[in-house]
Amino acid sequence: MNHNCGCQPPMNPTEEEEEEGNSGQLSEFRARSNVKQRTAGTFSYQHFRLNQYICITSEMTTADYDQASLPDLLPLYYRRLFPFSQYHRWLNYGGVTKNYFQNREFSFTLKDDIYVRYQSFSTQNELEKEMQKMNPYKIDIGAVYSHRPNQHNTVKSGSFQALEKELVFDIDMTDYDDVRSCCSGADICPKCWTLMTIAIRILDRALRDDFGFRHCLWVYSGRRGVHCWVCDEAARKLSVVARSAVAEYLSLVKGGDETVRKVVLSDPIHPFITESLTVVERYFSQYALLGQDILGSKEAVDKVLALLPEDVRKKLLQYFQTEKNPEMRWDTLRSMAQDKRTTAKKGHYFEMEIMLQYCYPRLDVNVSKGVNHLLKSPFSVHPKTGRISVPIDLRELDRFDPFEVPTISLICEELDQPKTEEEQEDTMENENKKEAGERRKMRDYKRTSLAKYVKLFDNFLEGMAHSRKGEVLKNSDLQKDF
């Protein structure tokens, strides 16, 4: 099955599901919704079982994923593929702050949506053992607390507090439903994926240039969105108020179902908005005018016109009777806005407002605000799509295709393919020897399509280690400590 044809099969044919309630205070254990088994016939997904791998031919390497196989695949993934050493290296942050890794909350979603919060581990080994034992369907990362999260019941209530966490952003395609015509709900396709590309470009620029953050890790969530983990020390130390201020600085689209005009600009246009508009400009014509055809059908046009001042709307309606080309239509709209700006005293920025309303990133502010809010971990599996939550390479951003992100079935299969029986016996023998095991694991992920993403992650970690080193040098220079 080729996933890259013009119109994609939706990644998840089941209902739209709200992803909420990860907010820290809610619960330790929380039963969540039943995973709905995909009914046969909805999609022709290939069924995989571990013992079936051997008979799969090479042309079927774009393995499709079936939810039912997850319990069989997860042990393999955690045993041989999950990049534990990098993962630990990341969350340990060079061991600069005492107990930084040890006081970090992890939470696991197990089979049947059993939700286990406040897990914590003292070493990489412990984390590894526990994950291999529990085989979580989903892993969330929480805050660094004042005490070990797994002992939170033993400390006096009130003294157990979330102290630090990466500044995180969650952008979810469902929030764009009113402005995309190709899909809705949890479905995505290459057409609307451009929205995520724009979102990353805009936010990454602002986080770096405006806020001065250096270490932003962008991750594909595994289904319909992207996450950003800002890992700078200053970002991790931000208070709740500061996080919400940052999130609001970055939010331009405001209002719910009851608001029609969701972006309102006024004089003067802040440099941040100007910068963001330059990004939107690059994609707007291709994405919105041609891809989404926002000035095509009658309904779409009405939606755009509703955002305009009365007089402009009337003139345009008349003009649109004769002009059908969306790009021409847009040019006229835009020149009318410019005319209006030169004649009227107060700024009319409606063409910019439209561009932003249709393309500007929509943040889930609540996720960014809370220090204790949980967010799905990188390299965790999305249980519905089977895709691994992988880092996104910003240098290759325009070419990033969510449908090319490996699924757990694919990488598990890749792992098995070139193996001869001899080799397998060999690894069985070495199972108990830790060093050999480590080396084997290194080799293992390198044989799969996960390799390039782990490499990306490595580079990211290297960058952080580098600036940490610079920081240490600077400090010792300051203290004349040679």
Binding site: G21, A31, S33, D178, D210, L238, Y249, V260, T274
Partner: protein, 581 residues
């Protein structure tokens, strides 16, 4: 911060009273060292003779003036030293002794002031003329340092009211008393800090620039400025990112470069140039940095004060007063249910049309239409339902029956949603019995985003949609235009109240609306429905209009020596001041 630096030394004089008001003497005192928890009862309190305190307030004021111990402190040099500037940073706690009655009046007055700040903040734009005018009036009413007098402090011309010194002293002491009352919980602290900050902002903004410089110097506040070259380089960005700054004004004022964490309000609203993690703040916006300092210090100080609380609470004379001061801010929270179980599920639909405020009607309608509400909506509506008297079982039944009509089956409901409903009723998690959202909370926090139906329709709807909605609810065209006018002026609660009056066909609703559940109860009271009984029992005063809005000290029962009944009376009075305010 210095531990001892926070000591408030309050001298409580306990009055012995007789029939002759001139024979008033102060004879008993106790010194409270709030932090050290060191109580010294110098003489036993004579409880039996504490009667007719109210009459004596005047005399007490006179006594205060001749009070010898205090007089020693009012040396001129000390005035300068203590209150050298009309605006204070409240760095040093007061060290003098004050009478219990002064303690009370000061606290009550400041609370009134803060309450006014809060109310005005909701009804008016904080920089508008009306806001300023009303707040000015309140300042002079309550004898707090008034901005005009700031510049004329050296004038010794005869004044009718209290002197500038007295006002500044009152400002100082009352602030510290309320710190005691408002340090107890996270919620109280947040409220207090918010109001004090608004107050401070208002006062700071009205200082002449000369005084601002003095203030900064006086309080040792220094911030990093950028060089002229750098300013020239950044000119464009500075102009487009700061409001009311043009090329010419950039030249003539200093820009401060501070980490963005120190000017969050400006960052949040994008009113400042932000680059590389630093904001560039024009001198005219310096209030933000100063406020940030103020907030940080106040918040730290409150946390420290909270630790000393047990010492204060062990005093039976102060404790009820402080408790009531701190309760005054919230008003009724509509969490205590007398009507619980009086409403059946069948009644909800008719009730939603008759007695629901618009926000809840919208949520109810949304729920019935889509058989689903998102998290924000479930919280806002769920707690409202709890407030009007649904039991937990009813609530579960209500939500389940609606959700299973949609995409959620019963099993999924039990797994995914039932928990949060039990949580609302305090049956899960940390078992807090959550209170229904007030208008303030609905309007100010968690604005609705894509797919959400919660929030305040007057605040979060497009006027055009609001108009259509009102039309569909058969509100008269003239009524609609009145409502839209109020919305335009950002008086969302007044707009809602107007909606109440129009839908209930009354001229004047006679209450001041600040809670969706209040709306419901008032409506039920008018219509004589099942929710009506609640109000009478829960709210203490039903007819606030008959009470004097601004009782002078003469009408306040003095609390010299506080026997229980008197204390109760005082607190009841306090309640009425503030619920009404």
């Amino acid at each position: 911060m210095n531990y001892l630096g926070l000591i408030i030394n309050i001298f409580v004089s306990v009055a012995k009273t007789g029939n002759d008001r001139n024979a008033f003497t102060s004879f008993s005192c106790a010194e409270i060292r709030t932090l050290c928890g060191n109580w010294r009862e110098s003489r036993q309190i004579d409880r039996s003779k504490a009667s007719s305190l109210g009459k004596l307030s005047e005399a007490r004021y006179r006594t205060m003036q001749f009070y010898s111990r205090r007089k020693k402190l009012i040396g001129n040099s000390q005035t300068e030293q203590l209150y050298g500037h009309c605006l204070q940073f409240y760095g040093q706690p007061p060290i003098e002794n004050i009478s219990l009655s002064e303690f009370e009046t000061f606290a009550v007055d400041r609370l009134k002031l803060l309450k006014t700040v809060e109310n005005l903040g909701v009804s008016y734009v904080k920089t508008s003329e009306l806001y300023t005018k009303k707040l000015d009036a309140e300042f002079s009413n309550l004898n707090f340092p008034y901005k005009i007098e700031a510049s004329t402090k050296d004038d010794r011309k005869p004044q009718t009211g209290p002197s500038e010194y007295e006002k500044r002293r009152k400002d100082h002491i009352s602030h510290f008393i309320l710190r005691l009352a408002y340090c107890q919980t996270e919620d109280l602290r947040r409220w207090f800090i918010q109001q004090e900050i608004d107050l401070f902002r208002y006062r700071f903004n009205h200082l002449p620039s000369k005084n601002i410089r003095e203030f900064l110097q006086y309080n040792n506040l220094h911030y990093h400025t950028i060089s002229i070259d750098k300013k020239k380089n950044l000119m464009d960005k500075l102009v487009t990112s700061s409001f009311a700054v043009s090329g010419s004004t950039v030249d003539c004022q200093d820009f401060y470069k501070v980490p963005f964490q120190d000017a969050l309000d400006l960052v949040r609203t994008r009113k400042v140039y932000l680059n590389g993690g630093y904001v560039y703040i024009p001198h005219q916006d310096i209030v933000t940095i100063v406020l940030n300092d103020f907030r940080t210090r106040l918040s730290k100080a409150l946390a420290l004060t909270a630790r000393s609380l047990p010492a204060v609470q062990s005093d039976e004379r102060l404790q009820p007063l402080l408790n009531h001061l701190s309760h005054a801010y919230v008003g009724q929270d509509y969490s205590i249910q007398k009507s619980i179980g009086k409403i059946s599920l069948e009644q909800i639909d008719p009730l939603s049309a008759k007695s629901y405020p618009l926000c809840m009607r919208q949520l109810h309608r949304g729920l019935r239409d889509s058989h689903h509400l998102r998290h924000g909506g479930r919280m806002q509506y769920g707690l409202f339902l709890k407030g009007i008297g649904l039991t937990l079982d009813q609530a579960l039944q209500f939500w389940r029956s609606e959700f299973v009509k949609g995409k959620v089956d019963a099993d999924k409901f039990d797994k995914a949603y039932a928990y949060s409903i039990r949580h609302m009723f305090g049956k899960e998690g940390k078992r807090t019995d959550y209170t229904p959202y007030s208008c303030m909370k609905v309007i100010l926090s968690n604005p609705p985003s894509q797919g959400d139906q919660h929030g305040c329709p007057f605040r979060h709807s497009d006027p055009e949609l609001l108009k259509q909605k009102l039309q569909s609810y058969k509100v008269s065209p003239s009524g609609i235009s009145q409502i839209l006018e109020l919305v335009k002026g950002m008086h969302y609660q007044l707009a809602c109240q107007k909606y109440f009056e129009l839908t209930h066909s009354i001229e004047d609703s006679g209450f001041s609306l600040n809670h969706p559940n209040q709306y419901f109860m008032e409506s039920q009271k008018l219509l004589g429905g099942p929710g009506a009984g609640v109000k009478v029992e829960v709210k203490r005063e039903d007819n606030p209009a008959t009470k004097p809005p601004n009782p002078s000290p003469h009408q306040t029962p003095g609390p010299g020596n506080l026997p229980q009944e008197v204390a109760a009376e005082i607190t009841e009075d306090l309640d009425s001041f503030f619920q009404d305010a």
